[in-house]
Amino acid sequence: MTSPKDNQTAKPVCFQDVILRLQSYWAAQGCAVLQPYDMEVGAGTFHPATTLRSLGARPWAAAYVQPSRRPTDGRYGENPNRLQHYYQYQVIIKPSPPNLQELYLGSLAAIGLDPMIHDVRFVEDDWESPTLGAWGLGWEVWCDGMEVSQFTYFQQVGGHDCRPVSGELTYGLERLAMYVLGVEHVMDMPFNPPGSPIPLSYGDVFRQAEREYSRWNFEQADTGMLLQHFKDAEAECDRILTAAETDSAGRRIPMAHPAYDQAIKASHLFNLLDARGVISVTERQAYIGRVRALAKRCADLFVTTEAATLQAEDAA
C-alpha cells in the first residue's frame, strides 16, 4: 500500500477532479474500473457488479461511478445537500483484503483529505437492504464529524451467505466533493476546473433537471402506469426465471442477469410510487417483500449458474 503521505498533491479543484482521482486511485489498486449500470437504481449496490458479483466464489474487484436516483429526496434543486439524482462511487472487492481500511484511507488522501490533519473515524453502522435481502456489518466513515463513506463487509446477499465476504465502499460523491472543495451549496460546486474555457458548475449541469424531476416525481408521474409497470417487471422477471434453461439451439443458458434487470426495474418503480405517496405504510412492506423475492430468485440462479460454470472449468 502507498502511504497517504505519498499521495499528497494539490487539492482537487472541481467535482470531476474528485471522481478522476478516485478512478485512478482504485485502478492503481487493481480494481477493474467499470462504467455505471445503464438502468435507474437507488444506489451503487444495485449494479450487478456488486449485487450479483458478491455472490459465489469467484474473486472480484471493481470500482465505478453509479448515478443514483432517490425520488423522495428531490428538493427542486434548492436544498444545499439533497438531490433526487446524485452520484455514488462504489468499490467492491472479494474476498475483502486484510488492508481494506488502509486502502480506503489511501483513497481519502488521494482526494486531498490528509488523515494527519483531519479526524477520520469508523463509527458503527450496520448496512441492510431489505429490497435486496442483503446485510453486512461495518461503519459509516466520519471525517471531521461528517459522514463521507459507508464501509461494509457483506454477510448476506439475496438471502445467500457471502463466502468469501466482499468488502464494499460507497462514497457519496457530491457531499464528499463539497467538503473537499469547501462548497456550501451543491449547485455552486464547480463541475469542471473553474479555469476551463467554459467553466460549468454542478448547477449548470443539473439544476434544471432537478427541478423538473422533482415536479415529475412528486406530482406528475402516472401512478396507474407505474403500478402496471411494476406488475409487468415482476411478471417478466418471473417468466425469465422460470424459462427453460436451454435455448432453441439446445445450449444451456439460464438468464440471471436479464431477470435481475427486471428486479432493479421493479425496485425503482416502487421508489417512484413511494415518492408519489400512493403506497400506504402497510402496503410498503408488501412491495419491498415482492422486490426482495425477485432479487433472491435472481441470486439463486446466479449462484447455481456460477457453480455449474466453475465445475465445467474444473472438468476441462
Partner: protein
C-alpha cells in the same frame, strides 16, 4: 507466579459493545483458567475502539496433578464388560488393581492426571473464548470462517515472570499469537513489541493510545470542563454520551466551538438533541443566559494545526444540521400559529393500531376520557379536553419527524405558539410521563388528567382487542402504562373507581381482567416499596379494591401495625379465632355469625372481651367509614390483650352446648371485626 497479557486487536469495535465485551473476555478467560485448575490473584480488562485487552496477575504456573479412582466391573465379570472399562479409562489390564469389595473382587482404575503448564491451558481457553465470544452481532471477512465483531488482525498472548516473557503458542485461522501490537492508527501506526502488561500500557500511551476507557472518560470530562470554564460556560452532563464517545477514540482530544448566533433561538432541547444524535457533541450552556451556546467535539488525533481544520469541519457539519433544524422549527411554528389544524388532519391518515384506528381516532377517545377524568383530579374539564386534543399533534411536526425523542417537548412549544394556556401546553409536554419507574410524575391537574386518559385509553383499547402482554412479550409497553397510571393515582392521591373509569373509556374491555392486571402491577410496585405481597392480598379482597389510593392506604396501615408487637400477637389471635371457627363450622355445618350474649359469659376474661368488642367495633367501623385506616388498625390492635386473655382462660369447646355456641359466636365477632379491615387469613405468619 507468571502474569498473563492478552490483546485482541481488530478493526473498530462499536462503542456500545465495548463495556460488555470487556466483562465477557474477563469472565470467559478467568472461568476457563479456573475450571482447568489454575488460580490467579487479579484480572483487569480494557478496551479501545481497536482492541480488547486482559491482564491477569499471579497466575499459577501449572495446574495441580489430580488422581481419580474409578470402580470397574467385578473380576469375574464377562470379558466384554472389562474391555469396555479399559476403553473408557484408556488403561491396560495390567494397570488395573483388583480390590475386595462388598460383593467380591472388583477392578479399580487409578487414573493420575499430571498437572499441565499454564501456557497450554491458556492457549486452549483463549481459543475457546475467541470462538465462543458472545458479541451481539458478529461477522466473517475475507475467505475465512472465523467470526468476530469486525476483522481480527492480531493477538497478543504473553506469559511473563521474573525470567522473562514468552508468547503462548496459539493460532486461530491463520492469526498467530505474538507479542506485538500497534499504536494509534494515524499518530503511531508502527508495530510495537511488548514484554508484559506494564510495558504494554506504557508503550501504548507513548503511541497515543489511552488503554483504559475510564481514564479516557475522565480525560474528556476534565478537558471539556476546562474548555467550557475558559469561556464562562458549563458542560451539560451526559454520562451515556461520555461513555459512547470514550469508545470512539483511542486518544481523546476535546475541541470546543461556539454555535452560530443565528441558531441560538432554537429551543435548547433541539440544539442538544441534534448535536448529540447526529454528531456526538456535548452541549455547553452559558449560565448567564441559560442557553446552549457552544459544543465540545472529541477528536481522536492531535494535529499540527491544533485541531483547527477538524473544528472547522465539525462546525460546518453542525451548521448544515442546525439549518435543517431551524428550517423545521420555523415551518412548525408557522403551522402552530395557524392552529395546527393540518397536523390534526394529517393524523387521520396515520394508523395507531389497525384494530384501534388512526391517531386521530385515538386522540378523540383520549379527549373524551380526559373530560370524564378532569373532575377526579381537580382539573378544569375544558382545559383537560383541549390539552388532550393537541397533546399529540406534534407527531406531525417536521421536528418530531426528525427527532422522535422530542415528542411532547416540541408539543409544548407549539401549543404556546398557538396561544394556548400554559397548563394546556404543559400537558402536551408531560402527558407521556411517567415513562419509567423513576421518571417524575406530573402533578399539574390538567397534565395528570391527560396523562391518565392517554394511558387508560391505551390499556382499555388493547384489552378490548385482546392484545394483552404475555410472559416477556409486551410490545405495546402496557405494563409500563399501567404502572404509570398507578403512580399518577398514588402520587397525586387521585380517588377513582377504576372499574367505572374502564367502562367509560371502553365498555367492551374486560374490566375485571384489566383490574386484576392493575392489581398485579400494584403488587410489584408496592413490593419495591417494602409492602409484603400477602398484606396486599389481604386487602385486595376488601370492598373498593378498584380505588387504588384506598387500597394502598389500607395496606400501608396494615403493614405498619403488623410491624408492632401488638400487631403480630393480634394476628395470631385473629387467626386462632378464625381457625377454631372454621373447624367448628365445618363440623357443625352452620355459620356462627351472631347471637353472642354476655349473660352466658362465665369468666371475667369473656366479659372483658365482650366489653372490648362493644367499644372497638363501632370505633373501627367509623374509622373505616372515614377511611382512617390507621385508627381502624389501632382499634383492632386494642383487642389484642382481651383476646389473648380470653384464649388463655377460656375453653371454647365446652361440654355445655349453650356456652360453646355462645363462645363461638363471640369468636365470630372477633372475625367480623378483623374483616372490617382485611382478610387476615391471607397474611402469612
Amino acid at each position: 507466579m507468571p502474569d498473563l497479557l492478552i490483546e485482541l486487536f481488530s478493526e473498530e469495535i462499536p462503542a456500545r459493545m465495548q463495556a460488555r465485551a470487556r466483562g465477557d473476555l474477563k469472565k470467559l478467560v478467568t472461568d476457563g483458567l479456573v475450571e482447568a485448575g489454575l488460580t490467579y490473584k487479579s484480572a483487569g480488562a480494557f478496551s479501545t475502539p481497536r482492541r480488547l485487552a486482559l491482564a491477569i496477575e499471579g497466575l499459577t504456573a501449572q495446574s495441580p496433578t489430580t488422581r481419580e479412582e474409578r470402580k470397574g466391573p467385578r473380576t469375574d465379570a464377562p470379558e466384554a464388560a472389562l474391555e469396555g472399562f479399559l476403553r473408557s479409562t484408556g488403561l491396560t489390564r495390567e494397570q488395573l488393581e483388583a480390590r475386595d469389595d462388598k460383593k467380591g473382587q472388583v477392578w479399580f482404575a487409578v487414573v493420575t492426571k499430571p498437572g499441565r503448564p499454564a501456557a497450554e491451558i491458556v492457549a486452549e481457553v483463549l481459543e475457546r473464548a475467541i470462538r465462543d465470544f458472545p458479541w451481539p452481532k458478529s461477522m466473517r471477512w475475507g475467505s475465512g470462517s472465523l467470526r468476530w465483531v469486525r476483522p481480527l488482525h492480531s493477538i497478543i498472548c504473553l506469559l511473563s515472570d521474573e525470567s522473562g516473557a514468552s508468547v503462548v503458542p496459539l493460532e486461530i485461522e491463520g492469526i498467530g499469537a505474538g507479542n506485538t501490537t500497534r499504536g494509534h492508527r494515524f499518530m503511531a501506526p508502527d508495530e510495537i513489541a511488548v514484554s508484559g502488561f506494564e510495558d504494554y500500557a506504557a508503550k501504548l500511551r507513548r503511541a497515543r493510545v489511552m488503554l483504559d476507557a475510564a481514564e479516557r472518560e475522565a480525560a474528556i470530562r476534565q478537558e471539556a470542563a476546562n474548555l467550557a470554564f475558559a469561556r464562562g460556560w458549563e458542560i451539560v452532563p451526559d454520562e451515556g454520551l461520555l461513555s459512547e464517545v470514550a469508545g470512539l477514540v483511542e486518544w481523546p482530544v476535546p475541541l470546543m466551538g461556539a454555535i452560530e448566533d443565528r441558531f441560538l433561538a432554537l429551543p435548547p432541547e433541539v440544539l442538544q438533541t441534534s448535536m448529540k444524535e447526529h454528531q456526538k457533541f456535548f452541549s455547553a450552556r452559558n449560565p448567564k443566559t441559560g442557553r446552549i451556546e457552544g459544543f465540545v467535539t472529541v477528536a481522536n488525533i492531535e494535529t499540527p494545526d491544533h485541531g483547527e481544520t477538524i473544528l472547522k469541519g465539525n462546525q460546518r457539519v453542525l451548521a448544515a444540521r442546525l439549518s435543517d433544524a431551524a428550517f423545521f422549527w420555523e415551518n412548525d411554528l408557522r403551522e402552530a400559529k395557524a392552529g395546527m389544524a393540518d397536523w390534526a388532519e394529517g393524523l387521520r391518515s396515520v394508523t395507531f393500531q389497525s384494530k384501534l384506528g388512526s391517531q386521530a381516532d385515538r386522540i378523540a377517545r383520549i379527549a373524551a376520557l380526559a373530560l370524564e377524568i378532569a373532575p377526579l383530579v381537580g382539573a378544569d374539564a375544558d382545559q383537560a379536553e383541549q390539552a388532550a386534543r393537541i397533546a399529540k399533534l406534534d407527531l406531525r411536526s417536521a421536528m418530531v419527524g426528525e427527532f422522535p425523542e422530542l415528542q411532547g417537548i416540541m408539543g409544548r412549544y407549539y401549543a404556546l405558539e398557538a396561544g394556548l394556556p400554559e397548563p394546556v401546553a404543559d400537558a402536551a409536554r408531560d402527558h407521556y410521563s411517567p415513562l419509567g419507574p423513576s421518571d417524575a410524575v406530573p402533578s399539574a391537574p390538567v397534565s395528570v388528567a391527560v396523562a391518565l386518559a392517554d394511558k387508560l385509553d391505551t390499556l382499555t383499547g388493547f384489552w378490548a382487542i385482546d392484545e394483552k402482554p404475555t410472559g416477556s412479550k409486551d410490545p405495546f409497553a402496557l405494563r409500563r402504562a399501567a404502572l404509570g397510571v398507578i403512580r399518577l393515582l398514588l402520587v397525586n392521591g387521585v380517588r377513582a373507581n377504576l372499574g367505572q373509569t374502564f367502562a367509560k373509556a371502553r365498555p367492551d374491555a374486560d374490566a375485571a381482567d384489566l383490574l386484576a392486571f392493575f392489581h398485579d402491577r400494584l403488587k410489584v410496585h408496592l413490593r419495591d416499596q417494602g409492602v409484603r405481597h400477602d398484606i396486599i392480598d389481604a386487602v385486595l379482597s376488601m370492598p373498593g379494591n378498584d380505588d387504588l389510593v384506598l387500597l394502598v392506604n389500607r395496606a400501608t396501615a396494615l403493614s405498619d401495625v403488623l410491624k408492632t408487637e401488638d400487631g403480630t400477637n393480634l394476628l395470631q389471635g385473629l387467626k386462632r379465632a378464625g381457625n377454631i371457627l372454621a373447624q367448628a363450622e365445618e363440623m357443625d355445618g352452620v355459620e356462627y355469625s351472631f347471637g353472642a350474649d354476655p349473660k352466658f359469659a362465665e369468666t371475667d376474661e369473656e366479659r372483658t372481651l365482650f366489653a372490648a368488642l362493644d367499644k372497638a367495633e363501632p370505633a373501627i367501623r367509623e374509622a373505616v367509614r372515614l377511611e382512617d385506616f390507621q385508627a381502624a388498625t389501632q382499634g383492632i390492635a386494642s383487642l389484642r390483650a382481651p383476646i389473648d386473655a380470653f384464649f388463655e382462660a377460656v375453653q371454647i369447646n365446652s361440654d355445655n352446648q349453650i356456652l360453646r355456641r355462645n363462645r363461638l359466636n363471640l369468636l365470630s365477632r372477633i372475625r367480623d371485626a378483623g374483616r372490617l379491615i382485611a382478610d387476615f387469613g391471607r397474611i402469612e405468619g
